[in-house]
């Protein structure tokens, strides 16, 4: 069974980490990643840019609405995610629109650039 583990923290506090502290934490996480990779259980990890870099697409009766900022949940829950390679934000939003068209109704998508991606196959 694949499990997604979603990481939560206060982005202002993480953003204020010194480079040394950030490097220190990343090195510690890398140990965990490598252990998972050795066990053949690592499929990838992503560190996202802050929510200020997010754009959202809200679905509804009309054409999906593009809004600046993170997706504000009112009654929705996080049900899935994609990691897609895009030339720019327009292409990422185009992709989200395709998804919305395939799956119309309520809810929406938050499009957030990935700051760092550790592919599962990249570690051994």
């Amino acid at each position: 069974m694949l499990y997604a583990i979603l990481c939560y923290n206060d982005e202002e506090i993480v953003g204020a980490w010194s480079k040394d502290y950030d490097d220190h934490i990343m090195a510690r996480l890398d140990v965990v990643h490598r252990k998972l990779a050795r066990e053949g259980r690592f499929t990838g990890a992503a560190r996202l840019l802050p929510t200020t870099a997010a754009t959202s697409l809200r679905k509804g009766d009309q054409e999906p609405l593009v809004l600046d900022g993170p997706f504000v949940e009112t009654k929705e829950q996080l049900l899935g995610f994609y990691v897609v390679d895009c030339a720019d934000l327009d292409q990422a939003l185009e992709t989200a629109r395709d998804l919305a068209e395939a799956n119309p109704g309520v809810g929406g998508y938050e499009v957030r650039p990935v700051a760092m991606f550790v592919p599962g196959s990249g570690l051994s």
């Binding site: 204020a16 840019l49 200020t52 870099a53 593009v66 600046d68 700051a115």
Partner: protein, 425 residues
């Protein structure tokens, strides 16, 4: 991270919001600062014992407000302070306040706090010092170090700035849409001043002043969270990120300036660049052009180029042309001429800057560029004259040394390095 470091960071990040709310409550900057200070002292004690509260900002506002009221009461009746446990035991009150905290209200609180620091009567240096003291919470000692002045002088500068603001009064009514957008513009300009104070530092001061760049970026992100759909705030934050991303590559070991073309791009900070590019992408979707966005777009073209040869100079030329329309200034035309020399040749660029000479006759970068263009056109005697004038106008030893190097090259075998004089490096 130790407990203490965590609390310190949490207090810093809660500061603008908490202090802004306390300012609205007490309508007096000194009273608000004192109340916040009090709340921080109690947080140090209480959070270490009981762990962090669910909403640190709401906690600080509530405790700060109570502390401030205690102070008022104490002054009136000389009553003893209530028991510490009583004040720390917030329980339901904190939850209730957190529930009532509405983004829109907070937004104006923070904007008001920032806006108090950019009063038009205050000279730029005082605006910056005040913002760093009040909004960022840097100590007078830290600010004095960044400005390379004595602590007493900085203390005096801040006190004077505060007195001026107190005299002018702070507008407490909720701003209308037009006023809010004007305030936002003034605050953006002030944040960019803070950034440039850090960015324009020479190599000797760069380390002491780099925190100013970080602080300005933090304030930019803060504004962005409050005003999510403002393309100029996205542009400002992107611009600062893209410029600061080059920090590690801008000076060599001897402290000499390294121009962008010669910088080691491996030293550029990739995550700052990624964030800057993402923000400029977001801003462009709004199709509301503005000076910060255009400058960020120029910085983005440099950041996107894998090597100096890959830089899209014709596009940079176009972007500077639109910046000239938005903010006509001879310095912008001078910058545009650098792009023009790369895309259309030195002759066109020289024709573009020659009319600027009367207005830029005291400007180092003008003669630096003029000399480089004349050299590229093989008009060596005139180039030498322009370089000599540039040296006389140099602002730093590093600038002078750079031009002297060009002069030395002129005397040599005529192997010309490409034209270079952009003030931004």
């Amino acid at each position: 991270m130790t407990d203490l470091a965590w609390i310190d960071t949490a207090l810093t990040s809660a500061r603008p919001q908490a202090l802004g709310a306390l300012l609205r409550y007490f309508r007096d900057l000194d009273a608000a600062e004192e109340a916040f200070q009090n709340a921080c002292l109690r947080a140090l004690k209480s959070w270490r014992q009981n762990g962090p509260p669910r909403d640190p900002t709401a906690w600080l506002i509530l405790v700060g407000r109570n502390a401030g009221l205690d102070h008022v009461r104490r002054q009136a009746k000389q009553e003893p302070l209530p028991d510490e446990a009583e004040v720390s035991d917030l329980g339901d009150a904190e939850d209730a306040l957190a529930d009532r905290l509405d983004g829109a209200h907070y937004r104006d609180d923070i904007l008001r706090l920032l806006f108090t620091c950019c009063h038009p009567d205050l000279p730029a240096t005082q605006q910056i010092a005040l913002a760093l003291r009040i909004v960022s919470g840097l100590s007078v000692k830290q600010i004095a170090r960044a400005f390379v002045v004595g602590e007493a002088a900085m203390e005096q500068r801040i006190t004077r700035a505060k007195a001026r603001i107190a005299k002018a009064g702070v507008a407490f009514e909720t701003p209308g849409a037009v006023e809010r957008s004007e305030r936002l513009g003034a605050v953006a300009a002030m944040i960019y001043l803070v950034f440039n104070e850090g960015y324009s530092a020479g190599p000797g001061e760069a380390e002491a002043r780099a925190p100013l760049c970080d602080e300005a970026i933090r304030l930019g992100r803060l504004l962005l969270r409050l005003f999510q759909a403002e393309p100029e705030i996205m542009g400002l934050t992107a611009l600062m990120l893209l410029q600061h991303a080059r920090a590690a590559a801008r000076f060599d070991a001897e402290g000499q300036v390294i121009l962008m073309d010669e910088q080691d791009r491996a030293l550029w900070n990739p995550s700052m660049i990624a964030e800057g590019l993402a923000l400029i992408d977001k801003a462009m979707r709004h199709r509301q052009v503005g000076p910060y966005q255009v400058q960020a777009a120029i910085a983005a073209l440099h950041a996107r180029a894998a090597t100096p040869q890959d830089v899209d100079w014709p596009q940079i030329d176009l972007l500077y042309a639109s910046l000239e329309r938005l903010q006509p200034s001879p310095v912008i035309t001078l910058n545009r001429a650098v792009a023009v020399s790369k895309s259309r040749g030195p002759e066109v660029a020289l024709a573009m800057i020659e009319p600027l000479e009367p207005r830029l006759s005291g400007y180092f970068h003008f003669f630096g560029l003029k000399g480089a263009l004349l050299r590229d056109l093989d008009r060596l005697a005139e180039a030498r004259e322009a370089f000599t004038r540039a040296i006389a106008l140099a602002n730093t030893a590093a600038e002078a040394a750079h031009i002297r190097m060009h002069l030395d090259h002129l005397g040599g075998d005529g192997a010309n390095p490409p034209g270079q004089a952009a003030p931004r490096h």
